[in-house]
Symmetry: C2
Subunit: 248 residues, 2 copies
DNA sequence: TGTCCAGCTTGATCTGCGTCAAGGCGATCT
DNA sequence: AGATCGCCTTGACGCAGATCAAGCTGGACA
């Protein structure tokens, strides 16, 4: 059964490697049949650009596997990441025909795309798709606002610690690691991408990672593999609201 | 006729001083009647807090007049504004019972509130309310992402110039000033609020405003009244993507 | 086995903005 | 008219993070 879950179904999709949300409707056959007809897959290699800001974008999509980023660039080349898309995340804006950001595959990437017009038609006739999309958009808005606090007010060290915590959390959620014990994950971003995420330079990122390592907040094996011996300590370094958690 | 326009109607509301969007449904009498029953008004004085982060929030609302801000605060007192609500803007999240941010009236403020539960019920039965809300949320997300670029990558001078441009634009939109000629407006924020908006200190805000004045980019009469002799010059200072405009 | 290169680290130095501190200005109250 | 208070400006100084520069490390390829 196909279940891309725009409504919180989590069945295994018959032709996708993972469960992903944000794509299909309640599992009612007619809807599914319609979705099947307008959906198609696209693959990208790490580093490839999915779409440039300003380009015509006649589809919406959800990430099946891999990671994509949204970035904005100023004329002089300064770049700021404004979105990170993990599996199940949604890109594209119904009711707009041009991309507002550069979308880039930072790892090998598979996306499940829907041609925009028929998707919009379906949204009109199937309210719960829109409802689910609203919910996801509100979540993204919350994430963006958390990110704004980070960019505007946190120190470099806090920024790095925050990023580690965010990645650890999302990684754990994806793998449904109910996880007690030391947290382990791989950084899916280069130092430069982290810098673009955090509003820093790659040198500062490197230095602060070294500092956190020196201070025992994280261990790293190789350049990408991170072990967090004590999540609470990390969250403290991140300057996050205590309680380690989710107000939501 | 009441028309708070969750669907782009712009009739004058019979009991509100201005046209505002984001509140009511297509002007079909039964819907209006229902909305009338669940709506009520609240007024706040400049400086009053509407709701604290974490508090129970059993309503959603739209701004009728005045300006409200959303801010996040770290334990040590560092603050970052994450949203600015002008008339017609919407606050509150269907499907969540606690506020995620401090909401504060920066000017005298009137809000049109709807008790949450009945509003949610209505959303379920009246899809276009949800559709309109999705549209507005996507707009806010775009604004948040623009804001992230500002926070992460712009210099203090660019930040100030950007803020002036944003306020000028929103002000013009509100007053439907189709406006050629020198742009004129009042700053609705104190220097400290601007600092919280921009991720700066109030001293830096003050210094950069003085600098822009010295360089003739803006003129100011008193401390709040701004005249922009050349909008293009201002946008250039803001480091915004040339074309002066809206990709949307 | 060497060499090449992208990604990363580390050092030295510079600078934009924060911090601390001292007033100025205008509105409101007495 | 003076006192008070919130808001704003300006100066002096210090530091976190940017910039510039050199070199490391590990994987791909010949």
């Amino acid at each position: 059964m196909v279940a891309h879950d725009l409504v919180f179904h989590h069945q295994q999709c018959h032709d996708c490697p993972i469960r992903h949300r944000a794509v299909c409707a309640r599992c009612e056959t007619d809807e599914l049949a319609r979705l099947e007809k307008i959906k198609y897959y696209r693959s990208f290699q790490a580093g490839q650009t999915v779409i440039w800001s300003g380009d015509k974008m006649d589809f919406v999509a959800s990430v099946v596997s891999g990671i994509a980023t949204l970035t904005q660039t100023m004329e002089d080349g300064r770049r700021q990441m404004v979105g990170m898309l993990l599996p199940s995340d949604f890109v594209g804006r119904p009711g707009r025909s041009n991309a507002a950001y550069d979308v880039t595959a930072t790892t090998d990437l598979v996306m499940c795309c829907f041609r925009k017009k028929p998707f919009e038609d379906m949204m009109l006739e199937t309210p719960h798709i829109g409802q689910r999309l609203l919910e996801m958009t509100l979540d993204e808005l919350d994430a963006a606002r958390e990110w704004m606090l980070l960019l505007g007010r946190k120190t470099a060290r806090e920024k790095i610690a925050s990023l580690m915590a965010i990645i650890a959390r999302r990684d754990a959620a994806l793998r449904a690691t109910d996880g007690q014990g030391p947290l382990v994950f791989d950084l899916p971003l280069t130092r430069e991408e982290m810098a673009d995420y955090l509003g820093l330079t790659l040198e500062t990122v490197s230095r602060q990672i070294s500092a956190l390592k020196r201070d025992g907040v994280i261990h790293l094996e190789g350049k990408r593999h991170i072990v967090v011996p004590d999540m609470d300590r990390l969250l403290e370094e991140a300057g996050d609201d205590s309680d380690g958690g989710f107000l939501v």
